[in-house]
């Protein structure tokens, strides 16, 4: 069953060719046998998964069905899962067991999804390489010496290696799309507010958005349909109807206007990536799209803007980890200050501390106007650029990242070069728009991705373009060597 699409798996389950227990057992066995090479899971929840699989089989026997029912999957370890540890990739939450399920988790559970475990990630989702995880780096199945991207690196590697058919992720500045691109799979970041943030360990609240890591755009449509929609527990979730995404995949893209912002192809982009993208753009033209160059003049400001806004919010969101109620608590504190300093000093890793310091600084008295307020103004300019572009175009496309996967350790000493890997994805978060990264070919032996950005709440549109591109190409069907069976 491995390598089958969600639609095919659902059909096989419906036809009785297999059952959830078998699929789940196979996934658990494969993880057990092979994940040592990747480190894509922090926690494998075998018993819970077997129980969920039995329940799914019973529900099916009782006449219930659904496109995700009984199919194994993995949750990024940033989603709170009742009864299974939620670590956020941090020592701070190494032993934290949430007393409740995130809305995304609850909705998938309700849809009959079988969670086999929690995937590795950059600590508190802060990173672009999965190297900041307390539980060690994740390896890219295409080349174990390279990173899978981040922060949803574990989810990307697990899907790329076909350990699970799909996994959830979160995307604050590219954390779904960038690892999807670097691992050769499909990564969807929905519109801000499309999917509830309730139960996701918060990084930067105005940017965080849950999404999917799947083999194909079609699979993404099925998963999104299950997790999208208003949640009264998240005030920023949108009260917008949820379209039938799978049914809309076939909507014609003929005559759609596609813009390529020239900033996506500037000198920072590897020639191999640029060349691959040119071919992908030609494919889009071949599908009947009107493709032309455009511009997002303020996009170059997105990285510095992001590295003010996101750390500011993070510095506040992470204040609750103080050793008092949950999470890591320093041994034998001598007073309150000591408890705070050592619990946080021991519990957080270097990148998290760096961002807390940046965030604290930019919000400080005397600096707020120059940094935080100014960044909010620039954020508006960037959003305006996108708004103007979408008056003319239905979609904006470009390479998801300027390079293919880099080597483990290559950028850890230089945070700024690491941050620049998200240069094409961050602006989309600042503007709150939906985007999907799809495999578009290879730079050498490494996969690279194309990002399709849409208007707010037009997930159906970007998924249909991505799906039709995937009907015309087979990049998304490529499996890394050694992981085919």
């Amino acid at each position: 069953m491995q390598g089958k699409s969600l639609k095919e798996l659902a059909a096989a389950l419906a036809a009785g060719e297999t059952d959830s227990a078998s699929l789940t057992e196979a996934a658990l066995k494969r993880i057990e046998a092979r994940d040592g090479e990747l480190n894509s899971f922090v926690t494998v929840a075998g018993e819970a998964a077997r129980g969920a699989a039995r329940a799914a089989d019973e529900r099916r026997a009782g006449g219930e069905s659904g496109p995700l029912a009984g199919i194994p999957m993995a949750q990024k370890d940033l989603f709170c899962t009742q009864g299974v540890t939620t670590t956020a990739g941090s020592r701070m939450l190494e032993k934290f067991v949430s007393p409740y399920d995130a809305t995304v988790v609850a909705r998938l559970r309700e849809a009959g999804a079988v969670m086999v475990g929690k995937t590795n990630m950059d600590e508190f989702a802060m990173g672009s390489s999965n190297e900041t995880s307390y539980f060690g780096p994740v390896k890219n199945p295409w080349d174990p010496e390279r990173v899978p991207g981040g922060s949803s690196g574990g989810s990307a590697a697990a899907v790329a290696a076909r350990l699970v058919p799909y996994a959830t992720g979160t995307d604050t500045g590219g954390s779904i799309r960038q690892p999807a691109a670097l691992a050769g799979i499909t990564g969807l970041k929905p519109t801000y507010g499309r999917v509830s943030r309730y139960g996701i360990v918060a990084f930067a609240s105005s940017l965080d958005q849950a999404g999917t890591l799947t083999v194909s755009a079609e699979d993404a449509a099925y998963v999104l349909a299950a997790i999208a929609g208003f949640d009264p527990r998240d005030s920023t979730s949108a009260e917008q109807p949820v379209p039938d995404y799978p049914a809309l995949l076939g909507e014609s893209v003929r005559g759609k206007r596609v813009g390529i912002p020239k900033e996506f192809l500037d000198e920072g982009v590897e020639p191999g990536v640029r060349e691959t993208f040119r071919k992908a753009a030609d494919e889009l033209a071949g599908l009947g799209c009107e493709v032309e160059e455009t511009t997002l003049p303020n996009l170059k400001l997105s990285v510095p803007t992001y590295y003010v806004v996101a750390p500011a919010e993070a510095s506040s969101n992470l204040a609750r980890y103080d050793g008092v109620r949950f999470g890591h608590r320093a041994a034998d504190p001598k007073d309150l200050t000591d408890l705070y300093e050592r619990s946080r000093g021991e519990g957080f890793g270097a990148e998290v501390k760096r961002r807390i310091l940046i965030g604290t600084f930019v919000l400080s008295h005397g600096y707020y106007d120059a940094y935080y307020l100014r960044a909010q103004q620039v954020r508006q300019l960037i959003a305006d650029d996108f708004r103007r572009a979408f008056e003319q175009y239905d979609f904006l496309v470009g390479p998801t990242t300027p390079t293919a996967a880099f080597r483990i350790g290559e950028k850890t000493a230089d945070p700024v070069s690491m941050y620049l890997n998200d240069i094409f994805t961050i602006g989309v978060n600042l503007a709150g728009l939906p985007a999907v990264s799809v495999p578009m070919g290879f730079d050498g032996k490494l996969p690279v991705g194309m990002q399709v950005i849409g208007r707010a709440f037009d997930e159906a549109g970007i998924l249909s373009l991505a799906h039709q591109y995937q009907q015309a190409t087979d990049w998304h069907r490529r499996v890394p060597e050694g992981w085919e069976e």
């Binding site: 409740y100 918060a202 609240s205 005030s235 920023t236 919010e313 510095s315 204040a319």
Partner: protein, 482 residues
């Protein structure tokens, strides 16, 4: 009068009477088992999010309308960041740059019955913190988060208050108003209404404000007055001895009657306020404001003016009777049942009734005598059935549960003697029994008139109509002296 003029502004925190907390569904009930009313949102668990309680917004809007303030069409919640164990998230959700209520003013009645208008700067919504319990544990501190997330309205006055008495009067007026509006129970012992004061002094006649201190923990009207008095004296002493007032937060200790700086170690806290990205701006439309305005009750100042006008009460009496909505309602019900006699009703409500309630520690709504029943007693005074003095005895019996006025009068035989012949007979007996006093009276000692009145009243057990006794006695005794 001192050379120094105090400048005072108050920050009052009123706990809003919502059933659930401002950002979670947990109960706001006071006095429950520690941490039994703290849900995951209140505990600041990873992943949880705040959802605004609309009822708290309505209550804040109602307050704004009652003080003639601008109710902002758009207000924004911000995070106030600081670390403390009873602050689970490491930040308090409050409003900073864009509060829900801007401006407004409040007419405050002073002790002498005169009125002062105090301007308000703003009122904003925020969540309360939990409580640290230092006493109950050896070597460690307990944290009770039942209060964490209870909605507060922080009401900030302009620095327009000029004495501790004005401050206390202003706080009473706020107390009265929030209770009228039904948005706060005003229970200061349980911390439902709390007050901080910003106090400075300046040379009389100068414009510039002096350096201020912030006084915390002023949890009764009396403490507000005493703490501010102490602080004014302290600052004047410092300045007159050539020193400088240090801008700091000081804690009032009611037992020692002094203010002391709170831990001096902390340099000015930088709260790093920024808009809370988990909450959308609060948008209030005209329909919402109109509905809130339509539901406004008659407010204390309006009621006070009406009582002065319609019932011809003194400003002081009108102030006392309208301080509480329930008391004012009671009083009006008495007057209505009595069909007038507003002054008599005021005297009884503020006198006998208030004393009895006070003695039993009861509020007006728990009165043992309902308004129509009290009116029944007063009717017996106005129709001459009993004297005012006897009425007090009847009142006590009624308070003790012996029935209404007529039942008590009947049972105890307290009906007033008004028959002139009956009274004349008693007077004759009294004169006859006291020949010496009669002689002295007629010899010019006119003060003995009172003696005869007393004797007559004694002989009738107080039931004789006093006016009739006076008239007949004068007739029978004749003139005193030559």
């Amino acid at each position: 009068m001192s050379d120094w003029e105090p400048v005072i502004g108050l920050e009052i925190h009123a706990q809003l009477l919502t059933k659930s907390k401002i950002f979670s569904g947990a109960s706001t009930r006071f006095g429950d088992e520690p941490n039994s009313n703290a849900c995951l949102v209140d505990l600041g668990y990873p992943g949880v999010l705040p959802v605004l309680n609309r009822e708290a917004v309505r209550m804040a809007a109602v307050f704004g309308l009652a003080i003639g303030a601008e109710v902002a069409e758009r207000s924004v919640f911000a995070r106030k960041n600081y670390f403390y164990p009873d602050l689970p998230k490491g930040y308090q959700i409050s409003q900073y740059e864009l509060p829900i209520v801007k401006g407004g003013k409040l007419a405050v009645q002073l002790e002498d019955g005169s009125e002062k208008v105090v301007g308000l700067t703003r009122a904003h919504l925020e969540e309360d913190a939990g409580k640290s319990l230092h006493e109950a544990f050896d070597d460690s501190t307990g944290v009770d988060l039942n209060r964490a997330g209870v909605p507060l309205l922080e009401i900030v006055s302009e620095p327009e208050i000029r004495s501790s008495r004005e401050a206390a009067a202003y706080m009473r007026a706020i107390h009265s108003l929030v209770r009228y509006l039904g948005i706060c129970d005003g229970n200061m012992q349980e911390g439902s209404l709390r007050c901080d004061a910003n106090v400075s002094v300046r040379r009389r006649g100068t414009e510039k404000f002096g350096t201020r201190t912030e006084l915390k923990n002023l949890n009764s009207f009396r403490y507000v007055e005493r703490a501010i008095d102490f602080e004014i004296e302290r600052q004047i002493d410092v300045l007159e001895s050539g020193g400088e007032v240090v801008q700091e937060t000081r804690l009032y200790n009611p037992d020692k009657h002094e203010t002391k700086p709170m831990r001096a170690k902390e340099e000015a806290n930088d709260y790093r306020y920024f808009p809370d990205p988990d909450l959308l701006p609060v948008v209030i439309d005209a329909a919402f404001v109109d509905a809130a305005r339509a539901a406004l009750p008659e407010l204390p100042a309006e009621k006070r003016a009406r009582f002065e006008r319609d019932f011809e009460l003194s400003p002081y009496d009108a102030g006392v009777l309208t301080a509480e909505r329930e008391l004012a309602d009671y009083y009006e019900a008495v007057v209505k049942a009595l069909g007038g006699e507003a002054k008599l009703a005021a005297n009884w409500v503020m006198g006998e009734l208030a004393a009895a309630l006070n003695k039993d520690g009861l509020g007006i709504s728990a009165s043992k005598i309902d308004a129509p029943v009290l009116a029944g007693l007063l009717k017996r005074i106005t129709d001459g059935t009993i004297s005012g003095k006897i009425a007090k005895e009847v009142f006590e019996a009624m308070w003790a549960g012996e029935g209404d006025a007529d039942a008590v009068i009947e049972k105890r035989g307290l009906k007033q003697i008004t028959d002139p012949n009956a009274i004349a007979g008693v007077i004759d007996e009294v004169i006859e029994a006291n020949p010496t006093q009669l002689e002295q009276y007629r010899g010019g000692k006119d003060k003995l008139f009172g003696f005869f009145v007393g004797q007559v009243m004694k002989a009738t057990k107080g039931k004789a109509n006093p006016a009739e006794v006076n008239r007949l006695l004068k007739e029978k005794l004749g003139p005193s002296g030559g």
